[in-house]
Every structure is written in structure tokens, then in C-alpha cells.
């Protein structure tokens, strides 16, 4: 447990909640996540216990202690529940041991880390005998004990008692009625349907009494929770969850949410159904069947029909499987008991001989052990989480130099963001409890966290892009990146790298973001709610402990034992094990074995990649995508005699958007021609990168040797760079920041003057349906500047319609006197309307034009400059250019000292009068190494549909001052900044000149 729990999905979240309670027990508002949320959105018991215990030995101590308590409760609960069901102490003993090793429990605890869920179900199991006793005896004390336990359940997990009511307590009531009937009639075989109703009527007051009071308890104990969910209904759009997948189609989900939780239980499924459909347990049988079916998720349409569309999309269905397995555990215990020392053993011994029995026993024990160990180490085999990150450097960074006066964001941290949040008081935009979030940018997306947005395709990266483009809105200044994938996006959104922390985490910073205000918004609740929330959970626990001890002391235990003792299972052991059941069980076992072997064989065949040219090509690209270069190399024609060293070398020098940041999304291969020994295959692939989708097409020639298809590697680039060693003088900058070592606010004289920018031109244009602000901005100061441009649109009544920042259409870092064209697009929050269809495939270029209430007429443009000393690489030149028709062809040459990973071309279109009318950009797919050239190829656009709406620049401001006064003062006699010489002639409709600018992203600066 100590090794697994920390790397589970949820445990750290619970720990974070625990840290919240440890800090402010009675204040439910938490500022740290999602610009503030309330912890009243999750039942508090487990979190409060962690928080309470953390005061003694720290948060981890708290969590492990609570987890240990959970395990103990689960084992004892399984014992009591099993005893209730099977009325046999030996069986119950078996059960409790098996329960601790059952793979569903192990998975829930060690892989998912759902502590509240486990405590909830354990306490629920404890409460079942009490409820049974109340129903049978009608003694008020039992009612009190059962309700006390229910209240503990509800304060630890709200879903458990609600569904537990349906799936556990209803069948229990049924069983109690049948037991009552049996006591009166003598045996179960005498019971008919009418008897059931008679005794139902007899027990009805007790049932209703219990039911209503339990409902009251459920509502009352966590009343603030219900009030909160009423006030803030979960507006979150459904987030995809593996448990809703079809387990056959998505194998990994099938493994995690079906195979593993069922584990060994799957083999004896027929036995469960047989036993559950015996008369006494018939209601449990129905419930078990229902749970089993619901747990299959999207594999069959039944769960969707049963639950309805909404509930299906909100609930995670894995919990049904968990409950089903827990429900079946007593019977598993019974099976093992009967198998190891009961009638089944005798049956097999007689029929098939003792060795066979031992063989099966050995196999089953082995299988059980393997599944348990496999589940325990699932995180090791398939890491669901990034490697454990040492948080201390980040915590220190946040606490240094008032960095916690801004919000931060983590990327690629997995669930460890909760651990960071628990350790540091700093505020994050993101969070890990998605039911609680409130920003529409997040709730409208099916994105779990911004942090892992790359796994959520367009929606994820789209959300992230918005946060990174307009960080001022959220006071977001620092990004901790544990994943290189996001680097280009950060760079082109105008962020800059700070130094790497000791733990290898990259810190990115955005300039011109104001710190958080001292007083942050809070959604306050009334005091009684806070008091209730803070005191109720522990009260329920104390009361439950007290009342149960009281009940034991008064020896109320005895009548219960008598109630079921007579029906000891001994009767059954006298009977022999039913033959048909054994046969079915046997057949089922073999069937399962066959299925497993068949699927393993299928996987093996699938991996035989070189038996057809298309498969070979697909496998080759797959290997490259997963960076399995050795495997890829083995698919290259051996006759080419391409050494692995050479192959690796060629790969290592090919940097760029696709090679370094791309992920293969889809790949298709079509055979153009094929003979016995040769094939030409056309490969169309789509790579996803943080910046755009990159479709790439290849023609690959394959040859067949020894019945295997091999790929012809083809020629490598032979171009040699001119110089072996070369130098170039350049300017480097360093900003000291605070010159005096002091915790005070930065001294006035250490604050750098904001570099003066000048907006040379700005126009509001409309192209198609899209509005944009375009123009040119120049750094007219003597220091390099980081540029932030914010545009606002106004309608004719001067009402503001939309505000946005420039994103990719701008060189964010300008050297002194450097000009950049810009375009500000006004993006809306995508898919904010429910009716909008969310595209199924990922497209980072996806652009959602904002839905404006009115026609924009005027604009306001704010330019802010800040001294920047990073990412100022300007040594790329355009070495050749030619335009034929609409195709711009050319090459860039990297004459400097750094390897440019992603070059970006910013294309400005001008009309006949040399006025800017549109701005576009294009990323060059491959990186450019030092003194190398790289060709590019861009399709230009006609600009006939661009309409200029407004070119009045009176509302342009630089660092808060009017642009006009600046331009008058600094450069009174400005020359034409776009003369003929600078522009490239062009002959397209609506545009006659083109300006090309280059921005360079250096992935690994020296």
C-alpha cells in the first residue's frame, strides 16, 4: 500500500482535500483550484479524518492511516456481510481473507485510490446485519445502530448509500422477509409468492420506518452538500470515462473496468448465478445481475437504456462492477470453502480423482495470486501517471519572491497536481475535481484537467490555448511544464522560459500579468451550514462507535445469532454438489481458457507486421511514432546495408514540429502497385502537434525478401554546411530583477521602464464571418521587448463586444526597432451552446469565431511592452523565394548558433495601395539546424473577401499612453516602413504584395 497509494488516480485528491480541512476546518471555500470552489461538493468524513490525522503526523500519515482503517473496515465488513448471507462462520472467515485479496478491491484501493468509496462500502456492509436485525426483531436499538452506520456511510461517500439502498438494502429486505416466512413455515421450499406478500405486509412498518429514517439521515447528514449541488448544479459536459466504453472495442478499458475487477471471480460466474438464484438469495441474485449488466458499460446497449442518457453519461460505471464483485464475495468464500474442504472437493475427488482436484486448486490459487499481484503492480506495467515528481523545488519556487501572488498552471503532472496543491498554498487555474469547477471555459469542455489536455485532443488543447492566450484574465503567470509537448504552444502564445528547476520541471512565465488582488471572490454559505459540515461527520462516527459498543455490552448480539444459526450451511454439505452445476462450471472454465488463448493468438498475429506491404508500412511509422527506432530499423531493406547507427543518427538530426512534438493520429496506406517482390505504397498520415494538424504523404517502395516486406529507406540529405567552426557576435541580455536581497516589494529603481512600442497601423477587418484586428507594431525602444496586444471591439453604442489577445499572429519578442505584423482573432469559448456539435477528431487549427451580439464598428488596441531577455533568436534568413500561381516556395537558412526547432512564417498581405489587409502564419514542419537550409511551401490565399471596417487609430494605446503622442515624440519623421524593396510582389485577387517575417522557436536553447 505504501508503494502504490501515492501513484493512484484519486488518493492525492483526497489528500489535498484533507490538507484543506487541516488548514481551515470550518471554512468550506477553497481558493486554490479553479479560481475558487467549495469543498462542500464532496462528503467530508474521509477528508476530515485525513486532515485531523495530518495534524499528528503529516498528510501522508493521515492518508495511510485512513487507508489502513479502510482496509480493516472492509475485511471485517466482508466478514459480517458474508456471515449474514451464508450463516457460516468458516465461510465468513474464508470470505474476509479472500476479500482483502479480491482484485476489484485491490484495484479500487491500489490503482484508483478511492478511499471514500471503500470506507463507504465497508461501513455499508457493517450496517447490513444491523438492518437485518432491526427488520427481524423490531428492536429499536438495532434501528439506531443501523442508522448510525448509514450516517457514517453517507458522510464518507454520498453515492454509496443511495445506490447501496437499491442494490444492497432492497435485496436484504427481501431476504429478511423470506427468512421470516421460512421461520414460520419451516422451510424455504414451502414459500410461495403469496407468502412473500403476507410477510412483506407484516414487516412493512419496519421497512418503511427504516427507509424513511435512512432517507432523512442521508439528506440531513450532508445537507450542505445537497444545498450546494442544488445551488451549483453540475453544468459540466460529460467527460469521457473508460468505464463507458465498449470493452471489446477498447481493450484497455475492458482490462481496467471488467477483467481486473472481476479477475478470478469470472471463472466461477456460473456458481454465483446458481447460488444467487436460490430462493433465499433471489433478491440478491436480481440485484447482482443488474449490477453485472450495468458494469459492462458501453459493451451492450442495456446500461444506457436502463440508466437513461443523462445518468449514463454522468456516472462512472466501474462502481457497479465493484459492488457486484463485493456482493459476490461471500459466495466466492463459500465456493472456496466447499472446494477446499466441503462437498465440491468430495465430488471432484470421487468423479475425477484427487490429483485433478489439486491441479485445479493450484491453478486457481495461482491465478488469484497472479491477478492480485498484477493489479497491485498495474501502475508499474502501465504507468497511468507521470513519474513521481519531487515537488519541493516547485513549492520553494512558488514561495520565493512572491511568485504565489499569481496563479500557476501545471502541465503533464497527472494527479500529482493535488499533491503540489496540498503542499503549497499557491493558487492554480486548474484542479483535479472537475465536478466543482465553475469557469465556463472548463465546464463546457469534456476536459478532465488542463494539465493533461493533450490527451483530450482539440477540446483539451483548445481550452489550454485560451488560458495561455489570455492569462491576464486568470492572473496566470507561471506554468510548470513536465511535458515538452506543450513548449511550442507556450512559446508561440508569447510565454518565455525561465530556468529549469532542480527536478527537471520547466518554468514558463508570462509578462504583463497583474498579480491577484488581495481579496478574492468567495461564495459564502450560512454559518449553520459550516458548523454542520465541520461537526457532523465526526459526530456520526463517534455516535456509531458509542451505540455499537453499547449494543454489544447489552448482549443484543445473541438473538441475531439465533436468528440465522439454525440455518447453518451444514445441511448443504450433506447434500452433494449439484452435477449439472459442476458441468456448466467446468465448461465455462474451459470456454474462458479458450477465449483467452484465442485473443492472445490474435494479438500475436496482429503483431506479425511484415506479411503485407501495407502492414509493414503502418508498423514502420508506428515504431517511429513510439520512438522504437530499433524496431523501425529492422524493417528497412537489409540490402541497403543501412547501419543502425547511421539510422539513429539520421533520426537524431531531424528535429521539428512533427519529429519532436508530433503524435501520429491516423495513418492509412494504399498499395499503388504491387508485384511479387516489389510494392509501392502511398502513405497518408495525420500527425497532431500542439500547434496544428500536420498531414503528410509519402510514397514508399517496399521489397520482399524471405517472405517479408522491407521498406526502402531512400537517400538521405547530403547537403554540407559551409563552415566547420564559425562565430558570430551577438547581444545577450540579463535582467537582474531585484538587485538587493530583500523580501520587500521590488525597489522603485529596480523596476525597468516598459519598452516603448509604436503601433504603426491597425485596422478592424472582416473576412467572411470572422472579425480581426490587424496591423503592425514596432519596438522603438533600445531594449528588447515582449509584446502583448489586447484588442477590444465595440458596437456603435460603444458597448464592448469582445476582448482577446494576439496569439500566433505576432512575433512576441521584438528586438529594438523590429517590426511585427499582428492579427488578433476574436475567439469565442468553443461549443458553449449545447447544440453545437463537438468535432470528433482533433484539430488544433480549429477556430471558433466569437458570437457577437452586435456588429463591431470601433476598436481599442492596447499594446504593452515589457523588457524581455529570452528567446530572442533572429538568425534565420529567407534564402530563396518564388511565387508561382498561389504557391509560395522558398527556403530558409539558419545562419546562427542555435538549432531552430520550429520556424514560423508570418505572412502579411497588402493591397494595391500597400496597405495591410490580412495576416496569416504557417509553421515549417521540420526544424533547421545550424547553417542548413530548409525548403518551405505555402499556399497563399486570395484576399477578395476582406472588408475594412475601421482604420481609425485614435484608440490605440501603448503602455497606457496614446499611441499618437508616442509616435510624434520618438520618431517624428517616420519613413515608409513598407517600401517596395521590402515587399514581395504578388498577383492574387485582392492582394498585390506580401511580406514574410520569421519567428523561431528554439526547443533546446544552449
Amino acid at each position: 500500500m505504501f508503494y502504490t497509494l501515492e501513484s493512484t488516480y484519486d488518493a492525492l485528491i483526497h489528500m489535498f482535500f484533507g490538507s484543506h480541512y487541516a488548514e481551515s476546518w470550518f471554512e468550506p471555500w477553497n481558493y486554490q483550484w479553479y479560481t475558487g470552489f467549495t469543498v462542500m461538493s464532496y462528503p467530508p468524513l474521509v477528508h476530515q479524518s485525513i486532515g485531523f490525522l495530518s495534524l499528528i503526523g503529516g498528510l501522508k500519515f493521515g492518508m495511510f492511516t485512513v487507508a489502513l482503517i479502510g482496509v480493516v473496515l472492509f475485511i471485517t465488513g466482508a466478514y459480517r456481510y458474508s456471515f449474514l448471507l451464508t450463516s457460516n462462520k468458516t465461510v465468513a472467515g474464508y470470505t474476509s481473507i479472500l476479500a482483502a485479496f479480491s482484485s476489484s478491491f485491490v484495484e479500487t484501493l491500489h490503482v484508483f485510490g478511492q478511499l471514500p468509496s471503500i470506507i463507504g462500502i465497508s461501513v455499508l456492509m457493517h450496517s447490513l446485519p444491523e438492518i437485518y436485525k432491526w427488520l427481524r426483531t423490531g428492536k429499536v436499538l438495532f434501528l439506531v445502530t443501523s442508522l448510525a452506520l448509514i450516517s457514517v456511510t453517507v458522510t464518507s461517500h454520498h453515492v454509496t448509500p443511495i445506490f447501496g439502498m437499491i442494490f444492497f438494502i432492497f435485496p436484504l429486505i427481501g431476504m429478511a422477509i423470506l427468512d421470516e416466512a421460512k421461520d414460520k413455515l419451516g422451510a424455504y421450499s414451502y414459500i410461495r409468492i403469496k407468502h412473500f406478500f403476507i410477510y412483506l405486509w407484516k414487516l412493512f412498518p419496519r421497512i418503511i420506518g427504516f427507509g424513511l429514517m435512512a432517507l432523512d439521515i442521508i439528506i440531513l447528514c450532508i445537507l450542505p452538500y445537497w444545498l450546494n449541488s442544488k445551488k451549483n448544479p453540475i453544468s459540466q459536459v460529460p467527460i469521457p470515462h473508460g468505464s463507458r466504453d465498449s470493452f471489446i472495442e477498447v481493450g484497455s478499458s475492458g482490462l481496467a473496468f471488467f477483467l481486473i475487477p472481476w479477475g478470478i471471480l469470472l471463472i466461477i460466474l456460473p456458481f454465483f448465478f446458481y447460488r444467487f438464484y436460490s430462493k433465499r438469495l433471489i433478491f440478491f441474485g436480481l440485484s447482482f445481475t443488474l449490477l453485472f449488466v450495468l458494469g459492462t458499460g458501453g459493451t451492450t446497449p442495456i446500461p444506457r437504456m436502463l440508466l437513461g442518457e443523462t445518468a449514463f453519461n454522468i456516472l462512472t460505471l466501474d462502481r457497479f462492477t465493484l459492488w457486484a464483485t463485493i456482493m459476490a464475495i461471500p459466495l466466492f468464500g463459500e465456493f472456496v470453502y466447499r472446494f477446499s474442504e466441503g462437498d465440491l472437493k468430495q465430488f471432484i475427488d470421487n468423479k475425477l480423482g484427487a490429483p485433478y482436484h489439486r491441479l485445479i486448486a493450484g491453478m486457481m490459487a495461482g491465478l488469484m495470486l497472479i491477478t492480485t499481484i498484477f493489479t497491485l503492480s498495474l501502475n508499474y506495467f502501465r504507468p497511468g501517471q507521470p513519474e513521481k515528481i519531487n515537488m519541493l523545488p516547485i513549492v520553494n519556487f512558488l514561495h520565493q519572491d512572491q511568485h504565489d501572488h499569481w496563479r500557476y498552471l501545471t502541465l503533464g503532472f497527472g494527479d500529482q497536481i493535488a499533491w503540489l496543491a496540498a503542499q503549497s498554498g499557491a493558487l492554480s487555474v486548474d484542479g483535479n475535481y472537475h465536478s466543482a469547477r465553475r469557469l465556463p471555459e472548463l465546464t463546457t469542455r469534456a476536459v478532465e484537467r488542463l494539465e493533461n489536455s493533450k490527451f483530450r485532443g482539440i477540446e483539451g488543447l483548445g481550452s489550454l490555448q485560451q488560458f495561455l492566450t489570455v492569462p491576464e484574465k486568470y492572473n496566470l503567470k507561471y506554468v510548470f511544464s513536465n511535458d515538452k509537448f506543450y513548449d511550442p504552444m507556450l512559446y508561440f502564445c508569447g510565454w518565455q522560459r525561465l530556468s529549469q528547476l532542480e527536478n527537471g520541471i520547466n518554468v514558463w512565465e508570462k509578462l504583463n500579468v497583474k498579480p491577484l488582488s488581495t481579496i478574492l471572490p468567495i461564495e459564502d454559505v450560512e454559518r449553520w451550514q459550516k458548523t454542520l459540515w465541520g461537526t457532523m461527520p465526526f459526530c456520526t462516527v463517534l455516535f456509531a462507535l458509542f451505540i455499537n459498543l453499547f449494543a454489544r455490552r447489552n448482549k443484543f448480539q445473541e438473538p441475531w445469532l439465533e436468528l440465522i444459526e439454525p440455518k447453518q450451511i451444514k445441511i448443504k454439505t450433506k447434500r452433494t454438489f449439484p452435477k449439472f452445476l459442476f458441468t456448466i462450471q467446468h465448461l465455462w472454465g474451459y470456454l474462458l481458457a479458450i477465449i483467452i488463448i484465442a485473443s492472445i493468438y490474435r494479438i500475436y498475429i496482429f503483431n506479425q507486421s511484415q506479411d503485407s506491404p501495407t502492414k509493414a508500412v503502418m508498423a514502420y511509422f508506428d515504431h517511429l511514432d513510439f520512438k522504437q527506432f530499433e524496431a523501425a530499423h529492422q524493417m528497412i531493406d537489409p540490402m541497403e546495408k543501412l547501419g543502425i547507427d547511421q539510422f539513429m543518427l539520421e533520426i537524431s538530426v531531424s528535429d521539428g514540429l512533427v519529429n519532436s512534438y508530433g503524435k501520429l493520429d491516423s495513418l492509412s496506406a494504399t498499395v499503388l502497385e504491387q508485384s511479387d517482390s516489389l510494392a509501392i505504397v502511398k502513405v497518408d498520415g495525420l500527425w497532431i502537434s500542439p500547434l496544428k494538424n500536420v498531414p503528410r504523404h509519402f510514397k514508399k517502395t517496399l521489397v520482399k525478401r524471405n517472405n517479408k516486406w522491407y521498406i526502402r529507406h531512400g537517400k538521405k540529405e547530403t547537403d554540407l554546411p559551409p563552415d566547420q567552426l564559425y562565430n558570430k557576435p551577438s547581444v545577450l541580455y540579463h535582467n537582474q530583477g531585484r538587485r538587493k536581497i530583500s523580501t520587500e516589494q521590488t525597489y522603485h529603481e529596480d523596476v525597468l521602464k516598459q519598452p516603448v512600442l509604436e503601433i504603426l497601423s491597425a485596422r478592424l477587418v472582416k473576412k467572411g464571418k470572422e472579425y480581426a484586428l490587424i496591423g503592425e507594431v514596432q519596438n522603438i525602444d533600445n531594449v528588447p521587448a515582449d509584446v502583448v496586444l489586447t484588442g477590444t471591439l465595440y458596437d456603435k453604442n460603444n458597448k464592448s463586444l469582445a476582448t482577446y489577445n494576439s496569439m500566433y499572429h505576432l512575433k512576441h519578442k521584438l528586438m529594438p526597432k523590429e517590426i511585427s505584423s499582428f492579427k488578433i482573432e476574436f475567439q469565442g469559448v468553443a461549443w458553449i451552446n449545447n447544440g453545437d456539435k463537438i468535432p470528433e477528431t482533433f484539430n488544433p487549427d480549429e477556430f471558433t469565431p466569437i458570437n457577437l451580439r452586435n456588429e463591431p464598428i470601433k476598436f481599442n488596441l492596447q499594446a504593452a511592452g515589457n523588457v524581455s531577455s529570452h528567446d530572442l533568436y533572429k538568425d534565420m534568413s529567407i534564402n530563396s523565394v518564388s511565387i508561382t500561381d498561389k504557391i509560395l516556395e522558398g527556403s530558409v537558412f539558419n545562419g546562427g548558433m542555435e538549432e531552430v526547432t520550429i520556424p514560423q512564417l508570418i505572412l502579411s498581405y497588402y493591397d494595391v495601395e500597400k496597405k495591410l489587409i490580412w495576416v496569416d502564419y504557417e509553421f515549417i514542419k521540420d526544424g533547421v539546424r545550424q547553417q542548413r537550409t530548409r525548403k518551405f511551401n505555402v499556399e497563399l490565399e486570395n484576399q477578395m473577401s476582406v472588408k475594412v471596417i475601421n482604420e481609425d487609430m485614435s484608440n490605440c494605446y501603448v503602455n497606457g499612453l496614446p499611441n499618437e503622442s508616442i509616435s510624434r515624440k520618438v520618431i517624428p519623421q517616420r519613413k515608409n516602413h513598407s517600401p517596395d524593396e521590402i515587399l514581395q510582389k504578388l498577383d492574387l485577387i485582392g492582394t498585390k504584395y506580401l511580406k514574410i517575417e520569421i519567428d523561431n522557436f528554439v526547443g533546446n536553447p544552449k
Partner: protein, 401 residues
């Protein structure tokens, strides 16, 4: 006895005189009916005494000060009522209005006559060289209790620029003293400080940065004038200066625009170091004429220069191998008959009835390029072709495959 009496007398005189002195220092309300302004020094204890007969026996005193209004209850003695102003009111300079019943008066508290600290601000921290731009030094001499000194307090402003050290005088007005510091035509650093009543401020730095650049010249440095695509032409500027002769700021961005023979616009960029910007350009791969001009966009331009890059070869050979499906181009020789460095692009186009059917591109290796016309790409038939490299085109009129 007499001695003792003398002591008593002296003692009582001392007490009396001190009481008198005390009373002199403090205000007797009845003597100041006509709202005479009384001055205090910040930090003094302020007591207002009102004759009992002028007081109705219950009224508190109402004080208006810069912190707001406050009520003060008096302390009765046999003859008068004493109103003691809270300490915090006496610590801050400014006017206090008071009122008891029908009596009222004003008190003015002045700053102490010594300077504890000089709060100085200088902004903007950098100004443009020349005669127009200026920065402002704002100095606030304050006393022990953080009160600004009164109007007319003399403040000396010292500034050093190169060898010049000057001192100017300014006076506190409305709590601050300020001085405009005019720029110099030389770009350099100016150090500024101020002093009042013997208290000195810390050193402040004012950077005088160069004016906008003036036009400049550009030069080229290249190894040879052949278009081999394998050498670097280094373009650089003359020392770029502003109109006062200052070097432009390091890092100033210079854009070199090159118009090639087809009037396409090529670009390379440089940032200045000590006024000189340098940019690299790879030689073209075939004959070209470059017209180069550099810009500091919208601000300054350079003269233009014209460069010609000659072809590295006048002719090249190719061989069509037997079976005609392999064509070797080369050996390719450069301008002094050396083998061309690797990477010279060679293109081969195949036409069938004037339709382009195949275009092959390769880069030379060891001066050679092999084109393989594989059957799967080029079915048998009659073709014509052309081979392009280093600006030369060779036609293959008839190629039967």
C-alpha cells in the same frame, strides 16, 4: 534658617517659572478667542485649556484634522478644562480645527526642522539623447515622523555626467521638490542624487540612450563570387550612429533586403553590436544578381550594393546507362574543376508528349547524382527529359524506355 528659606524661595520660583513657561507654551483658550493660528512642531504634546466659565460643563471638544474628525473629552481642574489632543494628531503636519461650545481655534503643526530621510524618485529611468527629452527627479525630504518639510526648504540636486559634476538648487513646494534633468547629446549614464539639510539621498541612475539611427552603408564579405550554394556571404553595416554620433543601442534590428534577379525579395537579419549589424546569407545555387539594401524599418536605410554570383560550371555531363533506366549526372565540376561539394541540387524532369510525368530531385554526392527510372514509376514508352543543375538545363530529346 535663612538658608533654608532661600532654598524654598528658589525652589518655588523655579516651580512658578516652569509653570509659567509651560503655560506660555500651551494655549489658553480664552486668550485666543479670535482664532489665532498657533504653531506647533510635529511630535509636541498639544493641550488646549478652556476657562471653566466659558464651558457649559459637558461639551467635549470637536477636532477636525487630516485624519478626520474626532471628539475629545476634557479633564476638569479647579479653574479650567484641559483638552489633551491624542498623540497621533500631533505627529502629523497640517491644520487642526477645534471647537468647544462656542469657542474655536486652529492649530498648525509644522514639520521638524531636520531631515530623517530623502525619498527620491527618478523617472523615466532612461531618456533619449539630444536636447528635448528630460527626466524628473522628485525628492521628498521628510522629518523624523515622516512629515514632508515645509515649502521653501532648499534641496540640492547633484548630477554627474561624464566629467561634469553639477549641483543645482530647487525648493520644496507643496511637499515635494522636483527638478527636470535635461538630456545631453551624448548617450551615457547620468548619476543623480539630492540633499536637504545635510541629509543625502542615495544614488539614482539615469540612462541617456541614443536617438534614432541615421542612414548607413552596407558591405559584403564573401570568399568568392560563385553561386555554389556552399559559401556564406557576410553582410554587414557601417557603424550605425544617431545624429549626435552616438552608437545605436546594441541589439538594434537591421533587416537586409535582397532583390534577386527575378525581383523576388529575400531577407536576412542582424542585430547590432557596437553599431555594426551582421547577417549571413548562403550563396545562391545558380547565377544570380542581388541588389541588397538594409533597413531599420521606418527609421533608417542604407545605401544599396549589387552582387553578382557566377555559375560554378559552364557545362556538365550525363550518361544514360545500358537499359536506360539509370542516368548518372556528373561528375560535376566546380569553377576550378574541383568536384562540387555535396548537396548541389539536381532535378530531372521526364515528359511524355510534353506532359510532365515525373520529376526527380536529388542532391549531389561526390559530384555525382544517379537517377533510377524504376519501372513502377516510369512504364515503358517514349519520353523526353531535361536535367537541371547549377542554373544549367540539358535536354534529352529522345529517351525510349
Amino acid at each position: 534658617m535663612i538658608k533654608r528659606l532661600g532654598i524654598y524661595c528658589t525652589f518655588s520660583v523655579l516651580i512658578l517659572s516652569s509653570v509659567f513657561a509651560f503655560q506660555q507654551m500651551h494655549l489658553h483658550a480664552n486668550e485666543n478667542k479670535n482664532t489665532v493660528l498657533n504653531k506647533y512642531i510635529a511630535g509636541d504634546e498639544i493641550i488646549i485649556r478652556v476657562q471653566k466659565n466659558q464651558w457649559n460643563g459637558k461639551d467635549p471638544m470637536l477636532c477636525h484634522a487630516s485624519y478626520g474628525a474626532t471628539m475629545i473629552t476634557g479633564e476638569e481642574t479647579e479653574t479650567e478644562v484641559i483638552f489633551k489632543l491624542p498623540e497621533y494628531l500631533g505627529r502629523k503636519t497640517g491644520l487642526i480645527d477645534w471647537q468647544v461650545g462656542r469657542l474655536d481655534g486652529q492649530i498648525y503643526i509644522e514639520a521638524q526642522d531636520s531631515v530623517k530621510s530623502m525619498e527620491t524618485y527618478l523617472g523615466p529611468p532612461s531618456i533619449i539623447a539630444g536636447y528635448v527629452d528630460y527626466s524628473m527627479l522628485v525628492s521628498i525630504p521628510t522629518d523624523q515622523l515622516d512629515n514632508p518639510l515645509p515649502n521653501g526648504t532648499k534641496v540640492n540636486v547633484n548630477h554627474q555626467f561624464q566629467r561634469n559634476i553639477e549641483s543645482e538648487v530647487t525648493y520644496v513646494k507643496d511637499r515635494v521638490a522636483h527638478k527636470n534633468l535635461n538630456s545631453y547629446p551624448r548617450a551615457n549614464r547620468m548619476l543623480v542624487s539630492s540633499e536637504a539639510k545635510g541629509k543625502d539621498s542615495k544614488e539614482m541612475t539615469l540612462n541617456i540612450v541614443p536617438e534614432i539611427p541615421k542612414s548607413f552603408k552596407i558591405f559584403v564579405d564573401r570568399n568568392h563570387n560563385f553561386a555554389d550554394g556552399n559559401q556564406i556571404s557576410r553582410l554587414y553595416t557601417s557603424t550605425i550612429k544617431d545624429k549626435y554620433g552616438n552608437l545605436v543601442a546594441d541589439g538594434t534590428y537591421v533587416k537586409f533586403i535582397i532583390k534577386d534577379k527575378n525581383n523576388n525579395t529575400l531577407q536576412t537579419f542582424g542585430t547590432t553590436v557596437n553599431g555594426i549589424a551582421q547577417a549571413n546569407m548562403l550563396h545562391p545555387k545558380s547565377y544570380d544578381e542581388w541588389n541588397i539594401k538594409a533597413f531599420i524599418e521606418g527609421i533608417a536605410e542604407s545605401s544599396s550594393i549589387r552582387l553578382i554570383y557566377k555559375n560554378i560550371m559552364e557545362d556538365f555531363e550525363y550518361t544514360i546507362h545500358e537499359g536506360k533506366r539509370k542516368i548518372t549526372v556528373g561528375p560535376l565540376h566546380s569553377f576550378m574543376n574541383q568536384i562540387v561539394p555535396d548537396g548541389l541540387p539536381v532535378t530531372m524532369n521526364l515528359y511524355q508528349e510534353d506532359q510532365l510525368t515525373l520529376s526527380l530531385y536529388q542532391e549531389s554526392e561526390d559530384g555525382k547524382v544517379n537517377f533510377y527510372l524504376l519501372e513502377e514509376n516510369v512504364p515503358s514508352g517514349i519520353y523526353s527529359g531535361e536535367i537541371k543543375t547549377a542554373g544549367l538545363i540539358k535536354k534529352i530529346e529522345f529517351l525510349e524506355l
